[in-house]
Each structure stands twice: as structure tokens, then as C-alpha cells.
């Protein structure tokens, strides 16, 4: 089980980095290139070398992780993940440098649907449905309050052993529910804001479908965490559920990548943004562009235009509660 918990993220990160190079029509490694360039001799060579080096690196990391786990160094294996991400980033930047000489001035063509926002309703309904398990868990916990132990575990190490506990208080018991509701609410706000995002209806629908799936996964995760005080008496379930959540999360990532490739092949012009407004291929800063959300060049969905203060405010709304929770946990 521990092997799966450690090796699965390494595998997912590897697949994501392998896929992001060529997910959008006319864009390779974040640079604007002719649409046919990825299938040209030079384009194929850059892609082939990036993928070959990446696969070898991924295999080496998985082998090293497996050896570290076998020798009882689970923490060492976990720290290998950020190192792997850094190395992937290095490989990516090498490929970016090799692609840049083939970059062209992108055609500043933009398209938009003149139809109503059809995917908004499913988005709202999906997020509301995701709140139902949390509400049911609240009711269940309330009805079984007396069965909740006075002290119960809330955190587990990579070895599956509990290493953090809390008491049976309203905050201690219902905190996962509150966090779940807040996070799903935030996902809903993003889904509604996508109405004002650049790009066609296809990309908007894809972003929202991913958000619905993520909110369902978050709902399941927080419901399960909230019910742990009642479940854990039958044995440690944390590692099993963590592997399950990781597998479903990986499924969502792979599905999104496949859908993005299908969208790429539909031939619609992509983002119509100038290359010099993209930093590291992922941060967009263009004060001349009124859009807050623009299609990502690295990955699936939309990203923020950091030239607008509202983007920073949105980021603060997301990060401040996380920072507060981390500080709160550290203080305790």
C-alpha cells in the first residue's frame, strides 16, 4: 500500500509532464509554432528527446523510491517527488530553448461563441450535488455523537501510522465538513467565473467538467475524513482511501488530457496571446488584455492574467485560508 502511495504521484507527475508539451494547436513547449511543426522532422526530434529523457528519469526515480521504501526510508521517498518535479522543469526548459528558434509571431485570432452559457447550469448542479454527502455526514455525525471517541486521529504518516490527534469538540469533529464546503464553494465560484474566460465553448465545458469531477472527489474525500472518527475503530482505513483518492484524481487528470488532445485536433484557433506575455510558459501577464481568465499554455483549462488586481485577489482568497489552517495546525 505504501509503495502505491509513494510511486503513484511519481507516475502521475511524469505522465502530466510528458503530455503538457504538445496539448494545444500551434503551441509547442509554450511557444507559438506553425500548427504542423510538431509533426515536422525538427519538431518530432525535440519531442522524442524530451520524452525519452523524461521516461528514463521517471523510471530511475521510481526505482530509487522503491529501494528507499524497501530499506524503510519512506520520508526520503516522499522528498524525492519535489526533486523529480524540479528535474522535469529543467528538462522542459531545455526543450523550450530548443523550440524557440522555430517560434513564429502567432496570429492574433480569437473566437467566441454567440450562444448562451449552456454549461453553467450543470456546473452549479454538480457542485450543489457535491455538497449533499457533506450534509449527510454532518447529520450522521450529529446523530452518532456519543459514539465518537474522546480523542481520535486526524493525520497519518507515509507508513500509514497516525501521528496527529484531536478531541471530540464541535471544531474538531466538523472541521473537515467546513473545509469541504468552503473548498467546493470556491470551485463553484471558479466555475461561474469561467463564463468570463477567453476561449471557445468547448474549452469552457472541459474546464467546468473537470471542476465538477474535482468537487465530487473533494466531497468524497472530506466526507470520508469527517467520518473517520467513526470508521477508524474497524482498523486503519486512511492508506486505502488515500490510494483510492489518488487513483481517482489520476483518472481525472488523464481524462482531461485526452479531452484536451481531442479539442486540439478540432482545429479551433487556440489563445491568440503574444508569446512575450508568457513567463516560463505558464504565467500570463498582459495589461493590454482585458480578460481575467485565458486558456493555459501548460496544461488543461484556464489560467489567470496576472496583470489584473482581481487575479491577485482571487489567489489571496484561495491561499489565505490554506495559510491560516497551516498556521493554526502549527500553533497547536
Amino acid at each position: 500500500m505504501t509503495y502505491l502511495l509513494v510511486l503513484l504521484p511519481v507516475f502521475i507527475v511524469g505522465i502530466v509532464f510528458l503530455a503538457v508539451a504538445n496539448l494545444h494547436a500551434g503551441i509547442l513547449f509554450g511557444a507559438s509554432v506553425p500548427v504542423e511543426f510538431p509533426s515536422s522532422h525538427a519538431g518530432r526530434r525535440i519531442l522524442r528527446e524530451y520524452r525519452a529523457r523524461g521516461v528514463v528519469m521517471m523510471a530511475v526515480f521510481m526505482l530509487m523510491d522503491a529501494i528507499a521504501l524497501q530499506r524503510g526510508h519512506a520520508d526520503l521517498a516522499i522528498f524525492a517527488l519535489p526533486a523529480q518535479v524540479l528535474l522535469w522543469a529543467a528538462l522542459y526548459s531545455i526543450a523550450v530553448r530548443r523550440t524557440r528558434p522555430f517560434a513564429i509571431q502567432p496570429p492574433l485570432v480569437r473566437t467566441a461563441s454567440l450562444d448562451r452559457d449552456h454549461s453553467l447550469k450543470p456546473m452549479v448542479l454538480g457542485c450543489v450535488a457535491a455538497l449533499l454527502p457533506l450534509l449527510a455526514a454532518t447529520l450522521y455525525l450529529h446523530l452518532h455523537w456519543a459514539s465518537i471517541p474522546e480523542i481520535f486521529p486526524v493525520h497519518w504518516g507515509a507508513d500509514g501510522q497516525a501521528n496527529g490527534w484531536t478531541q471530540r469538540t464541535v471544531t474538531g469533529v466538523y472541521m473537515p465538513i467546513w473545509i469541504g464546503v468552503a473548498v467546493i464553494g470556491f470551485v463553484l465560484v471558479i466555475g461561474i467565473s469561467v463564463r468570463y474566460a477567453r476561449g471557445g465553448e468547448g474549452l469552457r465545458r472541459l474546464t467546468r467538467t473537470v471542476l465538477i469531477l474535482v468537487s465530487a472527489l473533494l466531497s468524497f474525500t472530506f466526507t470520508w475524513v469527517a467520518l473517520l472518527p467513526l470508521l477508524h475503530r474497524n482498523g486503519p482505513t486512511a492508506p486505502f482511501a488515500a490510494v483510492g483518492v489518488s487513483l481517482v484524481g489520476a483518472g481525472i487528470v488523464f481524462w482531461a488530457i485526452v479531452q484536451q488532445i481531442r479539442l486540439r485536433n478540432s482545429g479551433e484557433p487556440y489563445d491568440g496571446t503574444p508569446d512575450n506575455c508568457w513567463y516560463a510558459g505558464m504565467f500570463y501577464y498582459n495589461p493590454a488584455d482585458p480578460s481575467i481568465f485565458v486558456p493555459k499554455r501548460l496544461g488543461v483549462g484556464h489560467t489567470l492574467n496576472f496583470a489584473h488586481p482581481i487575479s491577485w485577489m482571487g489567489l489571496a482568497v484561495l491561499l489565505l485560508p490554506i495559510g491560516f489552517l497551516l498556521l493554526h495546525r502549527h500553533a497547536r
Partner: protein
């Protein structure tokens, strides 16, 4: 992707964005791509989707409303109008459009398009269902 009517603008093209938006929506209305009663995206939404200034789309919608193609209802709802037969054009309007058409034909001839091709295109444009 889903067959929904689309608008496509070229930011660095010779035609102003406002004009591209007006021309394309009008063409869609004339060709039947946009039916009467069709609910249009709000000014703010279309501006954000295209990444252009709010005022550009507001001005385009205003022009199309004056021409009778769009109807802006209370609040932000914008619909394609049930357009009645246009009133008889004035002599001034006829002269202005005649001049524009002649300029356009002259430009096409200057760029090497044959009179047959121009005639075919005009007939094809006139042949669309209204």
C-alpha cells in the same frame, strides 16, 4: 465543436474590431445562423471571451440594435430581433452604400479578382436565405 454560432476576430487585421463584430453578427442574422429570439451573450461576457474592451462590444451591440438586428431588454439580456421588412432606404443611404460597393469592387479588381468572380460572390451572397 457543438455547432453553436461563433464569432472570429483578427486583432492585428486592417478592419477595426468593432466593425468585425458588427459585420459578422449582421451576416449571421442575414444568413439565418442567428434566429430571431436567440439569446446572445451579455456585453461583458462577449468582451471577456474575445479579450477586447467592454466598450467595443457595447458599441457594436448598440449599432446592431439601431439597425434592428438586436434587442436589448431590461437588464442585460440581449436577443436577436424579429426583424420586420426594412423601411425604404433614403436616397442618401442608397448613394452611400452604392459608393461603398463601388470602392469595394475597385479594391477587389485592383487586387486581381476577376469581374466573373466578383459577380459570382455577390450573387452567392444574395442567394442566402433571409
Amino acid at each position: 465543436m457543438n455547432g453553436a454560432p461563433q464569432i472570429r476576430i483578427v486583432l492585428d487585421g486592417p478592419t477595426p474590431i468593432y466593425r468585425q463584430v458588427v459585420d459578422q453578427i449582421r451576416t449571421l442574422c442575414v444568413d439565418g445562423g442567428l434566429k430571431a429570439g436567440h439569446s446572445m451573450p451579455s456585453v461583458r461576457q462577449l468582451a471577456a471571451n474575445l479579450g477586447v474592451h467592454f466598450n467595443t462590444i457595447a458599441e457594436a451591440y448598440r449599432t446592431l440594435a439601431v439597425e434592428g438586428w438586436l434587442e436589448v431588454k431590461q437588464g442585460r439580456s440581449v436577443f436577436v430581433s424579429e426583424r420586420r421588412e426594412p423601411r425604404q432606404p433614403t436616397r442618401a443611404a442608397a448613394a452611400q452604400h452604392s459608393s461603398r460597393l463601388r470602392h469595394q469592387v475597385a479594391e477587389l479588381r485592383a487586387n486581381g479578382f476577376s469581374p466573373e468572380w466578383i459577380r459570382h460572390e455577390i450573387e452567392s451572397a444574395l442567394g442566402g436565405p433571409e
